[in-house]
């Protein structure tokens, strides 16, 4: 049986720096086979995915090798020939469907566009096929849904419709580039199961690009592990998941299932709680509805509480309310027994010093025009009145604490990697010697392995400094790894709280159960089990 697509010794280079983005890549994908490309950022997985459409990003070029789609060699084809292939014989599903649809054209017209352009079918047939595929993707009331505009639909619905759009011309190959990364876990479960069903039904070969091993384990027949443009390991899904051979694959698998980090025992339990919230409400403005609804929590000194929830659950709003960036509407926030003022501008310096915030995007949290050294020195000057030599020595000590060399102080943020920047953000927060540090999704913008290193660092820092911690995340396994208490948030409310073990083993609230059920497990057949469960 001949392959659908074959890559032979493919090299893709960045034109200006001669860096190899893809280095000697070989792969053959057979009919109705799903091959996953996994790896961290910079692994070259998206570059390979796009090259299957005969496309390279601006500033890059094919340097060597061949890509053979059916009978055609993609790299040697003219622009018009490649254009005829795209959408008809090979189609692409992008990560963020919300931005991939044209906001001012009705869905149905976007769905049928490719098949009309390629002259594959007339408008009537195309509409019929679109509706059939939409029904196959388990979209409710397809006839009504497709007449709407993109902004009237949810992210999960758009992601499904994007798959419909890609399948319209019955392509032989589908490139799925992180198709569920931008959507919440509970939505992801449904999208994955309908995606899997339709791939089987349409008998289309797939290149499935993802960084999420647990998701890939459900979808793929084979897994290719990539790193810095090179193939590290290739094998059947079960083999890669259970018995990875290459060291890097083993690291990836280990980082994908976080182990419990050592607990920090506070000196004594007699100390008053660091933070107490009583029935806190918050809103983003008149008539905007409540972003927080009657939130109460208690955080003991030296303890770590995790807040989990999906996008829009109010978990980041909670961080903004505690820090005073956004005043609460009602309710009381007490810090070490004393009531906290609502607005950050009206809080005394002592309170500003005691509560520090670390944010999700390491690049956005550091001013690009301020050196690392100055960024860390600022809280030392403000809160601890340090000057000159002693301040510089403390900067060096803090850098050492987060595992970075002293000379990094002279650099600008753009010269650092994402993981290094997040370490700097932790160092800056610790420079104030806070009692409470709030970490808002600090690992979600980082690669898996780097993220788990930052988790370990945070745990070690808590051990050394005894700082209390609020760890906000959407990732239940990370919450369970670090926290003493987990708070589950949904639509601005805390629906359940409990110790990690108790919450994971016997969740009481229906939403917690749904959330736990939807988190992909790193084993094969997890998705099938869930589908069977749902049908039972």
């Amino acid at each position: 049986m001949s392959g659908i697509i074959r890559f032979e010794h493919l090299d893709v280079v960045a034109s200006d720096s001669r860096v190899k983005l893809v280095d000697d890549f070989n792969l053959e994908v057979h009919e109705s086979e799903v091959v996953a490309l996994i790896g961290e950022s910079g692994a070259g997985k998206s570059t390979i995915g796009l090259s299957a459409l005969g496309y390279v990003r601006a500033g890059c070029r094919f340097a060597r090798g061949r890509i053979i789609l059916g009978e055609d060699e993609l790299i040697t084809l003219s622009r018009n020939q490649v254009r005829n292939l795209r959408g008809s014989r090979v189609a692409y599903v992008a990560q963020s469907a919300a931005t991939a649809f044209n906001p001012s054209i009705r869905i149905i017209n976007q769905l049928v566009e490719a098949s009309l352009t390629h002259g594959v079918m007339d408008k009537k047939d195309a509409t019929a096929r679109a509706l059939q595929l939409a029904a196959d993707m388990a979209l409710p009331e397809p006839e009504r849904l497709v007449t709407r505009y993109p902004h009237e639909l949810s992210g999960g619905q758009l992601q499904r419709l994007m798959t419909v759009m890609a399948l319209m011309c019955k392509p032989s190959l589908l490139v799925l580039d992180e198709p569920t990364t931008a959507i919440d876990v509970t939505t992801q479960l449904g999208v994955l199961s309908s995606l899997k069903r339709i791939i089987g039904k349409e008998r289309v070969a797939c290149l499935y690009i993802s960084h999420d091993l647990a998701v890939v384990a459900q979808m793929a027949d084979r897994i290719i592990v990539l790193r810095n443009g090179k193939m590290v390991e290739a094998g059947a899904t079960a083999q890669i998941i259970r018995a990875p051979e290459a060291l890097y694959s083993r690291e990836l698998i280990a980082a994908a299932s976080p182990q419990k980090l050592p607990r920090v025992q506070p000196d004594s339990d007699d100390e008053p709680p660091v933070l107490e919230l009583h029935n806190v409400d918050a809103s983003y403005g008149h008539g905007a509805g409540l972003a927080l609804r009657g939130v109460s929590m208690t955080l003991g000194a030296g303890r770590c509480a995790a807040i989990i929830g999906e996008s829009g659950s109010g978990k980041s709003t909670l961080a903004r309310v505690i820090t005073g960036l956004m005043p609460s509407l009602r309710g009381e926030i007490r810090f070490k027994g004393e009531p906290l003022k609502g607005r950050v501008e009206s809080r005394p310096k002592r309170e500003l010093q005691s509560i520090q915030l670390v944010l999700q995007h390491p690049d956005l949290a550091l001013n690009p025009r301020v050196t690392i050294g100055d960024a860390i020195a600022r809280p030392l000057e403000l809160f601890r009145r340090m000057k000159g030599r002693s301040r510089d020595d403390e900067v060096t000590a803090l850098l050492e604490l987060v595992g970075l060399p002293a000379e990094i102080a002279r650099r600008y943020p753009s010269q650092l990697s994402g993981g290094q920047k997040q370490r700097i953000n932790l160092a800056r927060a610790l420079a104030a010697r806070p009692d409470l540090i709030i970490c808002d999704e600090v690992t979600s913008a980082l690669d898996t392995i780097v993220g788990s290193q930052v988790m370990e660092l945070l745990s070690a820092l808590r051990q050394r400094t005894g700082v209390s911690c609020i760890f906000i995340t959407h990732d239940i396994s990370k919450a369970a790894a670090i926290a003493d208490q987990i708070y589950v948030m949904n639509q601005g409310e805390v629906v359940e709280r409990g110790a990690p073990d108790q919450l994971l083993q016997s969740p009481r609230h229906p939403y917690t159960r749904e959330l736990l059920r939807a988190v992909p497990e790193l084993r094969t057949n997890w998705l099938e089990d869930r589908v069977v469960e749902a049908n039972a």
Partner: protein, 283 residues
């Protein structure tokens, strides 16, 4: 591929462009030493009106009044550069301060400032300038202040938009959490990141300022004759074009050279900072 490597190589390739620096340097020297290098005083009649090039003592010919054009261009650099530059700087200082303040305060303060600026913006520029100059009298100081104020309305819009964008960044939130003052947030956190668009605006505005100044001078309310000013010289010698004199073109070329050099310099600066920003995004 590491971040450090890419940004260093980008900076190395982006060396400061020589030609605009040389042009601006030469004009600066001329402006300082004009009385010593000019062959004639700027207001002395040395020949017949619109005398041709390179005849006798006048290298670039004479103007409509029979004055030495070369000397007037050299002297004119003093007036034009100092007036345009000061007006431009004043425009930037006022526009940026008010724009940043409006963006930072938001709410009703922003609303009031923005509506006033919108009102001023809708006023015809020339009429506005003439009213100011005729009300306060025509001296160089009034001229600078008037043009600076008019241009500041345009700076305000750019500055406010840029500040709005920058104030929404995470590091500004973190600065608020440290208890930093408003001045620190605006001038230490926001301003350094707002340079690229503001400097482009500054460069582009330079030629506009020269033109506005010359327009006012042409109507007799700006730079007072016999003082030389490039813009005024272009206009007062326009009649020479009919007889084939180059008199109006030479000061126009001088304006062009300065505008060109400023914009080249700004372009270079912009490209350099854009590289920094794009490499941040990749990281």
């Amino acid at each position: 591929m590491t971040m450090a490597n890419t940004s260093i190589s980008v900076n190395a390739r982006n060396t400061i462009p020589k030609i605009p620096i040389i042009i601006l340097g030469i004009w600066l020297l001329i402006a300082i030493f004009a009385p010593w290098i000019a062959p004639w005083p700027q207001s002395e009649m040395v020949g017949t009106p619109f005398g041709p090039l390179a005849t006798g003592d006048t290298l670039l010919g004479t103007d409509y009044f029979g004055r030495d054009l070369l000397s007037r261009v050299l002297y004119g650099s003093r007036t034009t550069l100092s007036l345009a530059l000061s007006a431009n700087v004043i425009a930037s200082v006022i526009g940026i301060t008010v724009g940043f303040l409006a963006a930072y305060c938001r709410g009703w303060i922003d609303e009031i400032i923005s509506r006033i600026m919108d009102g001023l913006f809708s006023f015809p520029t020339m009429m506005f300038a003439l009213i100011c100059v005729s009300a306060f009298g025509s001296s160089n100081i009034i001229l600078i202040l008037t043009v600076g104020f008019i241009e500041s309305i345009r700076v305000f819009r750019v500055a406010r938009a840029v500040a709005m964008d920058n104030l929404a960044r995470d590091y500004v939130d973190l600065a608020r959490l440290r208890g930093e003052s408003t001045a620190w947030i605006l001038f230490r956190e926001v301003l350094p990141n707002a340079y690229p668009p503001l400097l482009t605006d500054f460069g582009v505005r330079f030629s506009g300022t020269v033109m506005l100044l010359s327009a006012i001078s042409f109507l007799g309310l700006g730079v007072q004759p016999p003082l030389a000013d490039w813009g005024m010289m272009t206009r007062e010698n326009l009649a020479g074009l009919r007889t084939g004199s180059l008199a109006p073109l030479i000061p126009a070329l001088a304006i062009f050279s300065v505008t060109f050099a400023t914009n080249q310099l700004v372009d270079w600066f912009l490209k350099r900072t854009q590289h920094d920003i794009s490499s941040e995004l990749i990281g």
